[in-house]
Every structure is written in structure tokens, then in C-alpha cells.
Chain length 219, copies 4
DNA sequence: GATGAATGAGTGTTCATTCAT
DNA sequence: AATGAATGAACACTCATTCAT
């Protein structure tokens, strides 16, 4: 028989209460006692569903981050394919897309998809990047930066080799990688709704693609 | 009689021990017990010098942050003065300086001065931006961003008005402000010594000034 | 339909898992959770078969201890019968048996039978005497000592009365009773296999019978 | 200024309350909360004086066991000295002493000294041997047995070599070592006062020395 | 027979802070 | 200026046990 509790199952009530508590106080200062009390459940119950405090946090944050990672994986894979076919065309597409008003492809479209998902799981996103100190997620932004760095590096190397140019310094690429992720995250942090964030997305992509292209002096 | 303890006064020993503990565990997980033990002092003594845990943290971090803020204040004031005299010239200078190899003036020189100071107080800097969760400094980067935003906005507004251009959208300016601070902080985080960081400074400034100038289409 | 599970019934799986857990951690520190997990069963199931934690422990230990007790009962009964017939002969037999190499009767034979049984139920034996703190078995050795004391006392009294000797002091008898049980238990504890223990049995019996006989100065 | 509390210092009150609690429930089931409550002190105070639960237990038991160990050390050293001078005489002395009524030397005198000390610290003794499961003292009797075994072995080896006899089997020596310690401990456990225990000491020593001498067939 | 969820009291331990001396 | 003792609330977590299904 399905659970009758219209407020959701105990596990969900715990996760809901935990989300609020972690948002208010951060992982370290959050109290499991408070979470259980607000979920209307005893402390023991929590440990039936979750291994420990971090497992509870993880159960909330992980699905969201993993979904974002999956979208990015596909995006990167797509660009890699293009790169192998025609590196030059990829760069042109980037620039063209960034300048198109009603862009529906490339980076902008990927960013838009991620934002749409993020805003429908806004709390989990905040938890992962701002309230996760003391958990395994405390460096999750750094992971995304590292990942982005590898991606940018493979594009830049490919391009420079093809055009007989000197390779872009890793430090610069890392800085750009960081910039991109930061712009992305800060935009999400600055606007309360998806609609507002999306309105500003083109400007952001234009800015980032612009910076990226200046690395290659003939664009 | 002057203090005989060659290892420094009790207060300094406490701050030294605190610095290590806060660095290792962050503010929230740091233990005053441990700090006092490592300082070779009883817990009571701590409360003679510091109001509470946060006051101890603050006493370490504040002087460094305030000094950085002061350098920035002077830099901003200087640019404002230039702006009032000749806005156009300021932009030209920016670009010129960014492209000069052995730049000794403008942004690069300011950045260099800040780095020099930062690297000689590296721990305090790390404490402020990475170990301060739970204290009043946990948003100190955001404060610098806000400040930088106001500064950039005043320049942009001045320039746009002077040239009869449409004002730059605040969102974009905020994004740029964030980018600049982030690049600055991440560079400091990525290189262990001042010498290495300084070597990469020109590239960073070039990247940032480049991005800044793209906002004004005739540069 | 007979149970299909080739690994044994649920009850047996629980007892098997419990044996391991109790052996590792002792009764008090053993966790029913762990036992159920290792048995591949839920906690509820345990309470279908066993009243509580102690009942589970008891179900493992009791059969073995009771079987040992039964062997002893028969041994004591046999000696009592001999005693009633000819007390003097009993003592002679004891000494004679203890000095015979391939002794197949008397104490040695009883001890051998018990050891054989004990080694085929070694874990249960260990549980009873070393892991039972917190259960009703925590004093099971003392019970065996008390029992042995009563037995030795009846023999000693009988003998002393028959020979017009002063009765052996209860304290001494109790000490001997304790010695005998302890030697027996420690031998089992010191050798990992029945074969090794059995090899040393004659020496042990000789030592114990020797001590026992010194109580009666004309042996 | 000395503490005014006529009930003793906080530390002593804690140890006193702990002694009672450990005696009643054993180490594992004892509750620090109960101990603190009975000592009229908060839980935090306990942790000012003791590292953890085991440290509290240890602080009570260790001094007593160490003192006993010291008495034994001296006794063993004394016998070793005698052994080096005249092994044969040592054995004679043992037998002679064991049979003397008002024995004031040798084993009996050592045992008496230990008992006198033990009975004036009876609770600590009980804690060490019967309530210490879960602590580092849970095998303290085994340690004494091992120690005694080494001692007995050195005497036996010396004697056998001197008389050209076959060495006594380690198993037998270990059994004897165990017997001796057990008799000693059980006597302490069986009599509530030192006076009563002392009254029975000669019988015990006679029994043990008797057993010991039977290992060497010419005594 | 057995499950899965839940209880609720209990555990040892740590904490920042206080204060008489 | 500094000590050493003490507070008391809070912490994450574990436990044996229960029970409707």
C-alpha cells in the first residue's frame, strides 16, 4: 500500500527539513536534532534512512550536481566531436552563436538548459556551493573548474597546433576556466528566478566567448 | 620590565597558535582548547585578551584585510581623480599599461603591491577568504566585489555619458567586477610564492583589461 | 514443504551470525543490528525466534553447557556409587588411573570425553566462559566450581569419617575444586585442537590427583 | 589555599562515585552521567580531570595493580638472587617455609604483604579482575600468569640443569603458574577480611608448594 | 514467518564560556 | 595577567526493542 501521509514519506520529510536547516546554518552548524524535530520524527528514524549527517546532506545534493554534470558531459562530448571534424568551424560557430540574438544552440543553449534545471532545484544548488563546508562537496566548484580547464585546454591545444601557433599558457586557461564557472555561478546567485537569469544569459555568454576568443589573436 | 619570553607575548602566542588551528580546521571546527594548549596557556588567559572565539579570529584577519582595503582605496581615489580630469585618457592609459611589458603603473602596479603584501601575510589572507565561514568575514569577497562594482560603475557611467552612449547594464558591470576579483584571488591561490604570481600578473591584467574594454565598443 | 535455503533456516543463520558477533565483541558490545545484517535478515525476524538479546545468547550457549553438565553428572554419580561401595578402593583407583599411561577410565576418561565434545563446540564454550559478561552465564565457571566442591566434599567427608581423620577444611576443598576446574578450562584455552589438548591431559590429571591426594596424608 | 570541601576534591569525588558505579555495573555498562550525578558534578568537569571513560577507570585501578606488581618484582628478584647462590637450598627453603607454622619469610610472607595491601584496596582489586572488560586491564590476570610462568620456568630450568634432569614441560609449568595465581586470587575473593584470608594463607601456600615440588621427583 | 519503519532513551564526548582566586 | 576548575547545553550517533502489515 502506498504511504498515506499527504506530507510525503518520512524520508522525504527528513530531507525537506534538512534542506531548510542546512540552508539556514550550513552543514557544520546544522543540528540533526532540529531537523528531526521539524520533520516530526525521532532521531533514530533518521539513522534508518541515512548513514550519518553527511549521508543526509549528500542525498539531497548529489542528484542535482550529478544531473548538471551529465548535461555538461554531453555538451563537452558534442564540442569534442565538432572539434575533430573541423576545429576552425567550431570557433566560428562559438562567435556566431554568441552574437546571435535568439541563440538556440551551442553554449548558450547548454547554459540555458542547466539554468532551467538549476532554478527548479535552487536550494540544492545553493547547498552544494555555499553550505557544504565540512562535506565532500566543499570543493565541488573547484572540480567543475578543473573539468572545464581540461576541456578548454583540449580545444586550445587542438586549435593552436592546427594553426601553428604557440600553445596557450595553462595558467591563462585555468584563469579563463575559473572565470567562466564563476560567471555562471554568480549569475545564478544574483537573480532569484530563471526568467531573469535567462534574460541576461546572452550578455554573459558574449562576455565569456569574447574573453575566450581574445586568446587567439586572429579572432 | 619588558616581557622576557623570547617567543613573544602571550597574546601573540595565542594568535600564532590560533592561526595554525584556524588554517587546519576552519573557524567552526577549530577548538579553543587546542589553541590554548598549543600556545602553552590556559583557556582563561584567552578571554583576557579576546572577547570570544570570533574576536580572536578577527584580530588575526582584520589588519590584513584592512590594509588591502586601504591600498585599494588609494588606487580608486587616484583613478577617480584622473577620471575627473580626463575620462578618455584614463581608458587609454589602462590599455596602454596593460600592454606594456615592464608595467610599473596603474592597475598592474597596484595589483603587484597588493600581492606583495598578501604573500607576506598569506595565512591571514587564506583565513579571510577560505576559513572564515561562521564569522563576519565569510562574505568578505562579496564586499570587495560590491566595492569594485561601484568603482567600475562610476567609471563606466562617466565614460558613457561623456560619449553619449547607452549606460552599461549593472548586471554586466557586476559580472565584470566579480571576474576581476576572482581572477585576482585565484591567482594568489594558485601560486605559492609572490615571485611566481607576479610573473603571471601581466597576463592576468591584460585579460581583465581586455574584457573591460570590450564593454565599450570603440576600444 | 521443507525449507529451501541450503544455508540453513533463518533461526540457524541468526545463531551463526550471533556466534561470530558475540565471539568478536562479547555479549555487551555485540550489536543485534550487525547480527541481523550478517544473517541477511531484518531485526524484526530476530524477535520472532528469540525473546531478547540474552535469549539469543542463551540459545547458543545453553545446549553445550548442559551437555557438559550431564557428562559430569554421570561421572559424579558413578564415583558416588563406588564411594558407597568401597571408599578406600576409590582413592586407590584414582591414583592408579592417574599414573597409568594409556588410561581409559576414571577422571581421565571423563575429561577426555568432555574435551572431545568441547572442541567440537569450541566457540560456544568460549562464549560461555569468556564472552558472557552481562548474561546469566557470566558466573558459569563459579557454578562448576561450586558443584565440584560439593562433590569433593562428599568424598572427603566420607573418607575422613571412615578413617577417623579430622575433616578437610572447606576452604581447602574449595581451593582444590577451583584449581581443578581452572586447570581444565585453561588447558582447553591453551591448545587449539583436541588432539593437542588430549596429549597433555595425563600430565594435568596426574598433577590434580597428586594435589588432591596430598590432602590425605597417608596417600 | 587547600580545598575546603570536607568530602574531598572534585577529582576524588568523581573517583569515589566511579568506583561504586564500576563495581555495580562493570566498565561497559557504567554510565558517566550517573557517576557525575552521584559526584555532584557536571559531565564537563569529568573531562577536565580525565581523558575519557577508560582513563577514569585506569586512574582508579592502575596504582593498586602497579603496587602489587612492584611487591612481586622484589620477591622474584630476591628468589633469583638465592637461586644464583644455591639452587638446592632455595628448594629446601621453600619446603621448609611452607611447613613452618608461624612462617615469616619467603612466599608466605610475600603473599601476606600483598593480601594486606589488597584488602586495604579491595574495591580497586575487584575492579581490575572482575569489572574491567572493555578496558586494557581485562587481561591483567593473564599478565600475572605469564609473568609467574617466566619466573617458575627460570627456577625449574636452573634446577633441572643442575641435577641433570629432563626439563619440565612448558605446558605443566604454565598450568602451575595459572594454579598459583588462581588460588591466590580466589582466596582474596572468598574472604571478606584480611584477617580471615591470612588465617588460611599457610594452607594455601602448603598446597601450592606441595604441587610445585611434585614436579621434581626427589622432593 | 518476516519485513521495514520507527521509537526514545541512552551513549561518551566536546564545546565556548565563566569566574573566583 | 593568568590560572585552573567548572558549567551546562549541545553534539552526532547507537541501542535493544516494538509493531502494524
Amino acid at each position: 500500500m502506498p504511504p498515506k501521509d499527504s506530507d510525503g514519506s518520512t524520508k522525504e520529510k527528513l530531507q525537506e527539513a534538512a534542506k531548510k536547516e542546512f540552508m539556514q546554518k550550513g552543514f557544520l552548524k546544522a543540528s540533526l536534532r532540529t531537523i528531526c524535530k521539524n520533520a516530526g520524527v525521532t532521531t533514530g528514524a533518521l539513522y534508518f534512512f541515512f548513514r550519518d549527517k553527511e549521508d543526509l546532506f549528500d542525498s539531497i545534493v548529489r542528484p542535482v550536481i550529478e544531473h548538471v554534470a551529465q548535461i555538461l558531459t554531453e555538451h563537452f562530448k558534442h564540442e569534442d566531436t565538432q572539434l575533430n571534424r573541423n576545429a576552425n568551424a567550431l570557433m566560428q560557430t562559438l562567435i556566431h552563436d554568441a552574437n546571435e540574438k535568439d541563440n538556440a544552440k551551442g553554449d548558450l543553449s547548454t547554459a540555458s538548459a542547466i539554468y532551467r534545471y538549476l532554478y527548479s532545484n535552487y536550494d540544492e544548488f545553493i547547498l552544494a556551493i555555499q553550505k557544504s563546508q565540512g562535506t565532500k562537496w566543499e570543493n565541488c566548484i573547484k572540480s567543475f573548474v578543473d573539468w572545464n580547464f581540461e576541456h578548454l585546454k583540449s580545444i586550445a591545444d587542438y586549435y593552436c597546433k592546427a594553426h601553428g601557433k604557440e600553445e596557450i599558457k595553462p595558467f591563462v586557461l585555468r584563469m579563463v576556466a575559473h572565470s567562466q564557472i564563476n560567471c555562471f555561478v554568480n549569475t545564478a546567485l544574483n537573480f532569484p528566478t530563471f526568467e531573469e537569469a535567462e534574460k541576461h544569459l546572452p550578455a554573459m555568454v558574449r562576455y565569456l566567448v569574447g574573453g575566450w576568443c581574445t586568446l587567439f589573436d586572429d579572432f
